[in-house]
Symmetry: C2
Subunit: 211 residues, 2 copies
């Protein structure tokens, strides 16, 4: 059972993961476009040339990091939609749960959050596209969730997607604000985030009032 992967493949994957981990850590204090291949291999303790066994260049490694980061974020998103979807409470409780999940995610994955926030508009085209695609996908999932809720009766597709994008963008922005918050001030950021969600929720409820 443990030899579904040969020793060789297992060792290769371990090195690859070590490269990703080292890069993510180094990226806490710089951008991808200034991170060097030798910097990463040095941190792992392998020869610079070993890098090429795993990635074509740093942009390639960056795209792999996007997949890793947004995979873990996706897990959180699904949990969030589940919490949102149980219909037990329409307002305050859902908002609190959402913000609490974001806070927890940032606490457990600070480096991933920083990486996404930084490279979303960063200097490496391939990575920017990869992040943009993933976030668009998240917005779709949120939209699909919204579509099934009674509050969305009468909404057209475009409006729902717009709403979903606002929620996704708000999550990313909140996560990034939490990172930059001075230690001990996370609670203030969370309070602000809840207020903003409340405003969005109000807008949503009155969206169809005027026509």
């Amino acid at each position: 059972m443990s030899h579904t992967l040969g020793i060789r493949q297992a060792q290769k994957q371990k090195t690859r993961q070590a490269l990703l981990d080292a890069a993510l850590q180094l990226l806490e204090e710089q951008s991808l476009s200034s991170l060097g291949l030798r910097e990463v291999t040095r941190a792992v303790g392998v020869a610079p040339t070993a890098f090429y066994r795993h990635f074509r260049d740093m942009a390639d490694l960056g795209v792999a990091l996007v997949e890793e980061a947004l995979d873990s974020l996706h897990t959180t998103l699904v949990a969030l939609l589940a919490a949102t979807g149980d219909g037990k409470d329409d307002g305050e409780e859902r908002i609190a749960a959402t913000v609490e999940l974001i806070v927890a995610y940032v606490r457990t994955h600070p480096a991933h959050v920083r990486f996404i926030a930084r490279e979303q508009h960063g200097g490496v085209q391939a990575v920017r596209s990869a992040i943009g695609d993933q976030l668009a996908l998240f917005a779709q999932e949120v939209k699909d969730q919204f579509a099934g809720e009674p509050d969305s009766a009468g909404w057209d597709e475009d409006d729902l997607l717009m709403l979903a994008r606002m929620y996704v963008d708000h999550m990313v922005m909140t996560a990034s604000s939490l990172l930059e918050a001075a230690p001990g001030t996370e609670q203030r950021v969370a309070v602000g985030a809840r207020r903003q969600l409340r405003l969005l929720s109000l807008g949503r409820h009155h969206w169809l009032d005027e026509r």
Copy 2:
């Protein structure tokens, strides 16, 4: 009247501006943290060592660029608040004017917009702080504008600032989306931005309904 600045000072300023312009252009395709001093001086056509007559290092130049970029943005913001403040129309017209101003700004200052979007979460601490400070200041101005409007009666300070931050963040996000939009799709982005402002406006109007 033209010799308020000596020939020497005038020439120095011209070189300094040339360095800023060249850097801004080079930054369209990379991040500040990977932009080299020699790259910038080469683009201007001066010796690498001339750089030190104007800036301590690239981070220093970056902070100067923030000031330049957000100065022009501030001009736009003031125009925007003026358009918002005349009270002639509370809804659709104001929203359209706001989005139109953002579209015009992005068209005339694309490199500045890209720079701010990219370095807001970028790898250079001093530049990140400079941008953060300026945006907080903008939020204050927007808040002060809101405070004087009838719609804000009964709002407390924190809520108003939160609302102002949402508007400022939304502007930055819209500007950055416009940049990334495929040619010809700017109109779609503008439509989305207007819808989002409409949602925020609805939330604002019903903010005090529940208590």
